[in-house]
């Protein structure tokens, strides 16, 4: 106690500072001594100069201190400008773009299917005008093939269902719908002739119908796999309104069957009427083919022949499908059909 009292009262600041420095020096000396012991032991044990034994590798791995180069002597973006050959499309792609390119090319990335489908849509728009003439002939010359016909039709309706973008692109081709439709089925059938994984041609009508009512059924161009998504409804239908169509459907059908040239369904603004319009127009060039009747309630409707049957069958499709989506579009659809009757 006394000593401690003496401690504080006694020392001058200078003495205290001297003491602090002394303590510090002791600590530094301890550190140096520790280092000496460590080094001495390493020398005596023989491992002190171990990292200097191989002169060659010492020169090889010497630290590099040049601008533009890291300490190993490697250039930073040496591989940026290299080109790699894509195993899929055999093109030379820049290294930094290689991974995203592979994604799109192999059709396996997150957005690759969307982009591919969009590209298909624009390709169809672009090339339809070019291939008009020969497509008509080709279609007419095609032998009646159940699968091909169905496939083409199905592909068309799938395109319409899946996204608003597609329906938009179809909308713009209002006046050219006829030629558009003729070219599209041709395109799709040629696409499918290109060896799909799931071959629609080999499946019978019932199988196809059951398949396509439960799944989307679109076959990817790249991977040849069938899309297993549950099908979207045809636009523009609600429960109540569609039920009432069941009976008048046959009547409208009779009316329509009598008409040779059903006039073009009035261009409507909605995607739904576009869908029915497309179906009806697609029937025109195929009048030569036998009508398989209305009984097919399947989504991939199998009718050839008159446009009206297809449009009403598309109505039936609508009634079967989930009706919760796009109730707003049902309004334009209804006057369209009745306008025709009048």
């Amino acid at each position: 106690m006394k000593m401690e009292n003496m401690l504080f009262s006694g020392p001058d600041p200078t003495k205290l500072e001297g003491l602090v420095h002394d303590i510090y020096s002791e600590l530094v000396d301890d550190a140096c001594l520790g280092l000496c012991f460590e080094v001495h032991r390493a020398v005596k044990q023989g491992y002190f100069f171990l990292d200097e034994t191989d002169q060659e590798s010492m020169k090889e791995f010497e630290i590099v201190d040049q601008p533009g180069v890291d300490i190993f002597g490697q250039v930073y973006n040496q591989w940026k400008n290299k080109e790699c050959e894509c195993p899929n499309c055999k093109r030379l792609i820049a290294a930094s773009r290689f991974a995203p390119h592979l994604e799109k090319c192999l059709g396996m990335g997150r957005n690759s299917s969307r982009i591919a489908n969009r590209r298909l849509a624009t390709n169809n728009n672009v090339s339809k005008s070019e291939s008009d003439q020969e497509d008509n002939d080709d279609l007419n010359d095609n032998d009646w093939s159940y699968g091909a016909e169905k496939k083409a039709k199905k592909r068309k309706s799938d395109k319409n269902q899946n996204s608003p973008r597609r329906s938009k692109s179809l909308k713009h081709k209002n006046g050219e719908l006829g030629s558009n439709i003729t070219s599209e089925p041709y395109k799709f059938s040629s696409q499918y002739n290109y060896n799909p994984g799931v071959n629609y041609e080999t499946l019978g009508p019932d199988e196809v119908r059951s398949l396509l009512t439960t799944q989307c059924g679109v076959i990817s161009e790249h991977t040849k796999k069938m899309c297993t998504r549950p099908p979207f409804p045809d636009a523009g239908a609600t429960t109540v309104e569609n039920d009432s169509f069941d009976i008048p459907d046959t009547q409208t059908l009779m009316h329509r069957l009598q008409w040779e040239d059903s006039p073009d369904i009035s261009p409507a603004d909605s995607a739904s009427s576009k869908a029915s319009t497309n179906h009806s127009d697609s029937r025109k060039p195929k009048k030569k083919k036998p009508t398989s009747g209305l009984s097919s309630g399947g989504v991939g409707s199998l009718t050839g022949g008159s446009s009206s049957s297809s449009s009403s069958s598309s109505q039936i499709n609508v009634s079967l499908a989930n009706k919760k989506k796009r109730p707003k579009l049902s309004a334009p659809l209804i006057p369209t059909i009745y306008n025709e009757l009048n």
Binding site: F8, G10, L16, I23, V28, A31, H40, V43
Partner: protein, 96 residues
């Protein structure tokens, strides 16, 4: 003078008892490694050893060669921080 040395002894004792000395030592060692002091000293040791001959180096040789240089090579920042901590300790505990 007696008081002085007594005082010093007392303070040193307190440092050790409270574990502060160990902490300070560890702190210093860490800082010296971080700032590269240790590598510098090792390189110097290599020179000394090559000079003296690998087989005949003794601890005393090393100590006498290395310590003065070691003291000089400690960076100012490290020195300042350590002094600060010692002063703080003294201020806190010397009054008790």
């Amino acid at each position: 003078m007696n008081k002085d040395s007594q005082m010093r002894a007392a303070i040193n004792q307190k440092l050790i008892e409270m574990g502060e000395r160990e902490r300070l030592k560890e702190l210093l060692r860490t800082k010296l490694v971080e700032c590269g002091w240790k590598d510098q000293m090792k390189a110097h040791c290599k020179d000394v050893i090559r000079e003296k001959g690998l087989e005949h180096v003794t601890v005393e040789d090393l100590v006498t060669e290395v310590t003065p240089k070691g003291r000089a090579l400690v960076p100012d920042s490290v020195k300042k921080e350590l002094l600060q901590r010692i002063r703080a300790f003294l201020a806190q505990h010397a009054t008790l």
